[in-house]
């Protein structure tokens, strides 16, 4: 009903779940400092590896830090990194992909040569290399992962543009007298939106995992600051004694991925005029 009032199509169940999960994540990320019951860095050695209790709702980690508070603060870090990285990779990837696909010729060949060279390296290896240059910081991770994932976006967008530029409505736009730029922005780019949206939501998942992997390797968000990834990696030695300190961040990552993917599907449907019947 609400969606209808805003001119959006009625929500399907999946889209609703996606919105709820992502909305909750954003709320937690924004209001984290006020929601968290404890300081995420405060040590309490008495509570070391404790299970859930009244004092620590989700238990405590190997240094007795409150797990709930760390997860809340970690959401802030992880969500921001994933979001910024995806925006970075998709925006630059789309610009490069559209230019290469639409202009063709030498522009295309040179751009794609560089792109394919980047694509030849495994994403994580590439990110590790960049991290060595930028240093282990939040912005460093964003740029490194962004560059590592950009080539994928370039490939997908270029492929879509190549198929769309052959369609007759693009030729029709030329016959009308539109310039190349207008044609590109008005007719080609909007028709690439569906694959871009799908890619963006999938990429969100990869980035959360990659950030965890980087943190796991010690190149991510430097401890003691919490991110879901480094919580996962630092909790690993205690998996037998206190499984909750590794299960809970893992669960957070999984639920976030699920939510983002559901939301992505719903957004793609909203943007598709064919779904609005």
């Amino acid at each position: 009903m609400i969606a209808r009032a805003f001119g959006l199509p009625a929500l399907r169940f999946n889209g609703l779940i996606g919105i709820l999960v992502v909305g909750l994540l954003l709320l937690v990320a924004v209001f984290g400092p006020w929601l968290a019951p404890y300081d995420p860095l405060k040590l309490d050695l008495m509570a070391r590896l404790q299970g859930p209790s009244a004092a620590h709702l989700l238990g405590a980690d190997e240094f007795g830090r409150d797990l709930l508070s760390r997860l809340i603060h970690g959401a802030r870090t992880s969500a921001w990194i994933a979001f910024a990285t995806v925006v970075f990779a998709i925006v630059f990837g789309t610009v490069v992909g559209v230019l290469a696909g639409f202009l063709r010729g030498w522009t295309d060949r040179i751009l794609m040569m560089v792109n394919d060279a980047l694509l030849a390296f495994p994403g994580l290896l590439l990110a590790l290399g960049f991290m060595a240059v930028f240093g282990a910081s939040r912005n460093g991770i964003i740029v490194a992962l962004g560059i590592a994932y950009m080539p994928v976006a370039v490939r997908v967008v270029r492929g879509t543009v190549l198929s769309i530029r052959e369609r007759e409505f693009v030729e029709a736009s030329r016959v009308i007298g539109n310039s190349g730029i207008v044609t590109m922005l008005r007719h080609v780019l909007p028709n690439c939106l569906a694959p871009i949206m799908v890619l963006a939501t999938t990429m969100f998942g990869w980035v959360v995992l990659s950030e965890s992997a980087l943190s796991f390797l010690g190149l991510g968000v430097p401890p003691p600051a919490p991110s879901w990834g480094n919580m996962l990696s630092t909790g690993r030695p205690y998996i037998n004694q206190a499984p909750h300190i590794i299960i809970l961040p893992g669960l957070c990552i999984s639920i976030t991925l699920l939510g983002v993917n559901l939301l992505g599907d719903a957004v793609r449907d909203w943007l598709d005029p064919k779904m609005q019947d």
Binding site: F169, A172, S173, V175, I176, G177, H187, P273
Partner: protein, 556 residues
């Protein structure tokens, strides 16, 4: 009627979307004796394809045949048959040929393997035997070098060849029934006839019954005795095809017959005013570049070889030819989508060049195009009003209100309801979409419009409306038109003059009546013959309709 052996008998066939949804085929009855032909005729959405597919049990979900339906193939009821039985019948008992040979042949498999597939599945035969049978069949359908053909891939053949190969591989199994769903709709007139002749030959040799699905009543009447006319899922008329064509009983059939092309009354319009060339082409040559190689390019392909052509103010020149003759390329060159590699093009006496200045922009507005497929020529993400109004955005003299007024005006001119303005292209019918494409072309009041096969993707009755709209608009605004088409029926209705193109050259030019009644070139005669064959059966249909379409060419 158990006495006569019917290969196929269909009783009370209904097809629904789901158990209780929309009914797309409603209580259809027909029967088909061994070795005979029957045609289901109707326009898109009439349910003819659904009816044919339900015979094979190949209805796309969620469509299902209702349990009351009876489809008997040699005594077996196919509606209640288990999937295993259906699989045995498909191919061996009932063969099917689809509309698009491009799509129905697997592009990644050689012809030989595709032909062998059915034989290996239904007959216990050795590899050598299968190969011999395939070779004999290819020879039978007069394919040059059958051995090479077996090793070739589908893309190496033209559309007509592919359809013949498709037909051959289906007939290899000697099915008792062949279902042909618009087998020649995607093909040129000349090739259409070859393929249909071949189909009749092959099926008669094997005593195979044919269920032909088509939208083209004229063609059907030439080949098939019994016809069922379908409209909105119901059989509205059935019986002898000539009787149906000559004395249609049902209203819908009458409309269908009326929509068959015939010459517009009155002579050519040109001749009154002194001919004043609007567009002049001199010795135009167009090459397609070859594939880029590591160094340089492979040799290109010459699509147009030195064409001279003049189109006068306000007249319609039809450019006729088979696919691959270069007619579309020539039209695209005039609107600037292809750059000629030689010759000159002039518009109103000045060289035709689309520069990026005010002159070039004015030229863009003066010369427009209507594409063949109205679905792919409209941006799926724009609303109809936006599409039609887009050319006006380039005119700085028009503000928003003026543009909207102009769009509303054009909507009325092309017969689009105002409430369609907020729709998206996919929400419109094919005919409405083509009206939108025409509206976009004429909104900037062009002096010249290239119409590239504008009606060949449309149903017959819609074709007729669109052609009439085109003529009316032309009479009102006096724009000249290059009407590119392989469909002589459509050409006849709109053309003042006709130019015939073969292999990149113009072989004949003349007034419509001259070209149609007194063709000079052998190729023109062949084109006319192929078209006429499909229409001659229809000669007596409208006794009062003035000189009959194409019939004058019979003697020459």
């Amino acid at each position: 009627m158990a006495g006569i052996e019917n290969v196929l008998s269909v009783e009370n066939l209904s097809v629904r979307m789901g158990q209780a949804g929309l009914t797309v085929v409603d209580g259809l009855d027909f029967s088909l004796p061994a070795g005979e032909m029957l045609a289901l005729v109707g326009e898109s959405g009439s349910g003819k394809t659904m009816a044919a597919r339900s015979v094979l049990g190949l209805l796309p979900p969620p469509f299902v045949a209702t349990p009351e339906s009876r489809i008997r193939f040699r005594g077996t009821d196919l509606v209640s048959a288990p999937p295993e039985t259906l699989r045995q019948i498909r191919g061996a008992g009932i063969g099917m040929v689809f509309q698009e040979p491009m799509v129905s042949l697997n592009p990644a498999m050689t012809i030989g393997r595709q032909m062998a597939e059915g034989l290996a599945l239904h007959r216990k035969l050795g590899k050598a035997e299968i190969r011999d049978m395939s070779l004999a069949m290819l020879e039978r359908i007069r394919i040059q070098d059958p051995a090479r053909c077996l090793a070739a891939f589908p893309h190496e053949f033209s559309g007509g060849m592919r359809q013949r190969i498709m037909l051959a591989s289906v007939m290899l199994l000697k099915p008792a029934l062949l279902i042909a769903d618009e087998p020649t709709t995607a093909l040129d007139t000349l090739i259409q006839r070859d393929v249909l002749d071949l189909m009749v030959e092959l099926t008669q040799e094997n005593n195979t019954a044919v269920l032909l699905i088509s939208h083209d009543l004229g063609m059907v009447a030439h080949y098939v005795r019994n016809v069922v006319v379908m409209h909105k899922g119901r059989a509205v008329e059935q019986g002898d095809s000539r009787a149906v064509l000559h004395a249609p009983k049902h209203d819908y059939t009458r409309r269908l017959v009326d929509a068959l092309p015939r010459r517009s009354a009155g002579g050519s319009r040109s001749g009154g005013a002194p001919a004043e060339p609007l567009i002049e082409l001199k010795d135009v040559v167009i090459d397609y570049p070859g594939r880029a190689r590591l160094f340089g390019r492979a040799a290109g392909k010459r699509a147009v070889h030195g064409v001279d052509l003049a189109i006068n103010r306000g007249e319609t020149l039809a450019l006729v030819g088979a696919s691959g003759s270069g007619k579309t390329t020539l039209g695209r060159a005039i609107v600037g989508l292809v750059t000629p590699s030689g010759g000159t093009m002039a518009f109103r006496g000045a060289p035709l060049a689309y520069r990026r200045d005010a002159g070039g922009r004015a030229l863009r507005q003066a010369i427009q195009i209507v594409f063949q497929d109205p679905y792919s020529s409209l941006d799926p993400r724009q609303r109809i009003a936006g599409i039609v109004g887009e050319p006006l955005k380039l005119d700085p003299a028009l503000d928003r209100a003026r543009r909207q007024a102009r769009v509303a005006e054009v909507f009325a001119e092309v017969g689009l309801a105002p409430e369609l303005a907020d729709r998206f292209p996919h929400q419109l019918s094919g005919g409405q979409r083509q009206r939108v494409a025409i509206a976009r072309a004429i909104v900037s009041r062009p002096a010249f419009v290239v119409a590239d096969e504008p009606v060949s993707a449309l149903d017959m009755t819609v074709q007729k409306q669109i052609l009439k709209l085109f003529r009316d608009l032309q009479a009102r605004y006096g724009f000249a038109c290059l009407f590119v088409s392989h469909d002589l029926g459509a050409v006849e209705q709109v053309a003042d003059r006709v130019a015939v193109m073969e292999n990149g050259r113009i072989v004949e030019t003349g007034t419509r009546d001259d070209v149609f009644d007194r063709p000079q070139h052998a190729y023109t005669r062949r084109l006319l013959d192929a078209a006429m064959l499909l229409d001659r059966t229809f000669a007596g249909a409208d006794g009062a309709g003035g000189p009959r379409l194409l019939s004058g060419a019979a003697g020459s």
